[in-house]
Symmetry: C2
Subunit: 439 residues, 2 copies
């Protein structure tokens, strides 16, 4: 039986200025579920927003407090970051990805969202006529919203039918027009938790070089693929990255998920040294500087947006990365709770008629982690999202992520132990009411 | 006698990738003076960059540390700011400016630079054809650099010959084309420390309403006009603001200068409630939301740039504003050192042949504060900047600030007591060497 009537869900949408909840963004879904919870007193099972629910890393906190006590917050931090965070970042990329990026090319940003926002600007302005972004979807809807702010055009395709070698033809088709400035994806993927395999990264890297596109690789869920133990610094296996296959790359990563540090808004943009030093006359013309990519991105673009990042947060982030490189923090272990939740949640859903939509990488099943995708019979993502709301479960439709598949994204971050009985009960009720239609 | 030869100054410029030091930006001037200092061991008198040199406000630090201990840094802060900072901001605007802005319309940003960056986007996108920015110069060069990033056009005029009633005609001339989306200025002014008087703010406000332009008022130096005691909350005199004369306004202010908090990157964008609620079809069309100005600026623009501001810094800022409203922090008194330095510096310069370029507001002489402007005989700003470098004094040319006057900007922030003997000696030497040419 439904927990919330169609009528009250419609009232919730109206009260939150949401036109059609089937197409709700994450932010809108948050508002609607909060409204329903407040209005009825019935708690919601919140699978919508990915907000860390683990305790903030205490080494970061201690380093921040020490920096504040030293008065580091008085003067502007260097535009390209304090030396401590730059050096730690360079080591961190070496320790866990086995790639070489010099400290000067590792730039702290206010969330990785600021890294992609700035990179989109620099990359699409560097060569006249090469000004579009290509999304290997599904992806984080915010990146398209960034392009809407900036008035940058994009193309997109759902990778679902193009895993492995077939990715090459589709990418060639998309890139051959020559107008693609940036190729972007996240891996581990938000929303689908798929991970690109080495063979796919090789295809992306070699075509990025061939067509002079820059790969913007979103590593917000750095080393969180639970299928392999990526937790040992300077020891294989290392996290897969396109950086092994092209010099045309920018990697963004963040403290938000791996150190449970989302509130402090501190992340990294790491630029290939080769790209960092490249000169682009179009950048010179626009910014009246020497047109060198890295310094332009930092001094002519990022500096104009926030003039640096919070000093104490930089010291905290530096310390956490240093300790991780020394093997004194195991951030992979620290965030394993998400994978454990995913495993339990998937079992509940799959035992009750649901299926995992993006269920495989090229050579193996996907792992457990921060997100997974759910389908139910012939329901579209929009229908499934809405039907789940009636049973007190919030999610987001895969349609909002550029996916062409039928389903929703489920996030494990808020599903703490106490929520499981509620979840199981509701999922069972949902299946009871829908199974005839499903079959 | 010159401290640095033309030859070494040229080498410094080349080493720092600075084409022509006469036109150096602040960042370039910082690099050149640091290079010269390092190379020769001769200390520079640094009047270039405005970086707070007073100790960071300790109440802010304590509130940040407490927030970190509570784990506030783990989860994403609300996109429009934590309730504490919003409520404190609303009170702060009432206490020191005597204006009413509701908490929902007070948005924390990563530096006021992020406030203006985001506001430029929203304001120029709200009405088709109304897409230019008008600068009442001189001004902060970074704001024009922001427009260069975004590809937004601007117009500008130097207010020097248009003080008082004559401002009306010039503004009418600039606005009558109907394409101005934003009118912007800083007051107290960076670089000239002039302050717009009530009569001028009335002109700006009424014409902004008439031509539907939004005034972006930069109050980074909030209440730092030392001529009147603006330090008493809820008591006249209040800081002058255009908010008294139009509903078309956005005020940015910051913790950087008044609380010596630049490193923590926390500031405010306060939007007129009337503007906050206005609907713009063009915003709706672009962002597929309801097109309401305030929510669009926050959720569709700012959120896409940084997804909120550092949580601990918000708690710190909230606490400092609360204490200021309760009269327990006197931030005006706390920053008086800058005015005292300005007074001494101006005396040294004026005793040695220099003059204050922007020396008056409509009804009175300008006060002492963070910046002042210097001229010397017939030297252009570019010539004066370069000549001063030979004597170990760095500044920025007024030409880079949109001023049409001959001179440089001097910043008091780094001129601590120990620097004065050096400054006096060098200014004397400069005057000795130049006075024949001056007369």
């Amino acid at each position: 039986m439904k927990l919330f009537s169609e009528d009250i869900v419609e009232r919730a949408a109206a009260a939150c200025n949401v036109g059609d909840i089937s197409h709700a963004t994450i932010g809108e879904m948050v508002l609607v579920s909060q409204w329903l919870q407040k209005e009825t007193g019935i708690p919601f099972v919140r699978m919508d927003q990915g907000s860390p629910s683990l305790p903030q890393n205490r080494y970061g906190i201690e380093a921040e407090k020490a920096a504040l006590d030293r008065g580091e917050g008085a003067a502007y931090p260097a535009a390209d970051g304090i030396p401590e965070v730059k050096q730690a970042a360079s080591k961190f990329m070496k320790a866990f990805m086995d790639i070489d990026i010099s400290p000067r090319a590792c730039i702290p940003t206010v969330g990785s969202v600021m890294g992609s926002f700035s990179a989109f600007i620099a990359c699409t302005q560097r060569t006249p006529g090469k000004d579009k972004v290509l999304f290997i979807d599904p992806g984080f809807p915010i990146m398209k919203s960034q392009l809407r702010v900036l008035g940058i055009e994009w193309k997109e395709f759902d990778i679902f039918p193009f895993r492995g070698e077939s990715l090459r033809d589709e990418l060639e088709r998309q890139l051959s027009s020559g107008d693609v400035a940036v190729i972007t994806y996240s891996s581990p993927n938000n929303p689908a938790w798929i991970c690109l395999e080495e063979s796919e990264l090789e295809i992306i890297g070699s075509l990025a070089t061939k067509y002079d596109a820059i790969v913007l690789e979103d590593q917000a869920y750095f080393c969180m693929d639970s299928r392999r133990d990526l937790s040992h610094p300077y020891k294989a296996p290392f996290a897969p990255t396109v950086a092994r296959y092209t010099d045309n790359y920018i990697i963004t990563t963040s403290s938000s998920k791996i150190f449970s540090y989302a509130g402090q808004r501190i992340a990294l943009t790491c630029i290939s040294d080769d790209l960092f030093d490249r000169r682009y006359p179009a950048l010179d013309q626009r910014y009246h500087n020497t047109g060198v990519f890295g310094p332009t991105l930092v001094a002519a673009i990022m500096y104009m947006i926030t003039s640096g990042c919070t000093a104490s947060a930089q010291f905290g982030y530096a310390r956490m990365m240093e300790l991780a490189c020394e093997g004194k923090i195991n951030f992979v272990e620290d965030t394993k709770a998400y994978a454990e939740r995913a495993e339990k949640m998937k079992r509940i859903f799959c035992n009750n008629g649901f299926n995992i939509v993006y269920d495989r990488d090229v050579t193996q099943e996907i792992g457990d982690g921060f997100f997974f995708t759910l389908g139910y019979g012939g329901l579209t993502g929009e229908q499934l999202l809405k039907e789940l709301v009636y049973y007190g479960i919030s999610s987001i439709s895969l349609g909002t992520t550029g996916s062409r598949q039928k389903g929703v994204r489920a996030c494990t971050s808020r599903i703490t132990d106490d929520v499981f009985p509620l979840l199981e009960e509701r999922v069972k009720a949902f299946n009871e009411d829908h199974k005839q239609k499903r079959d």
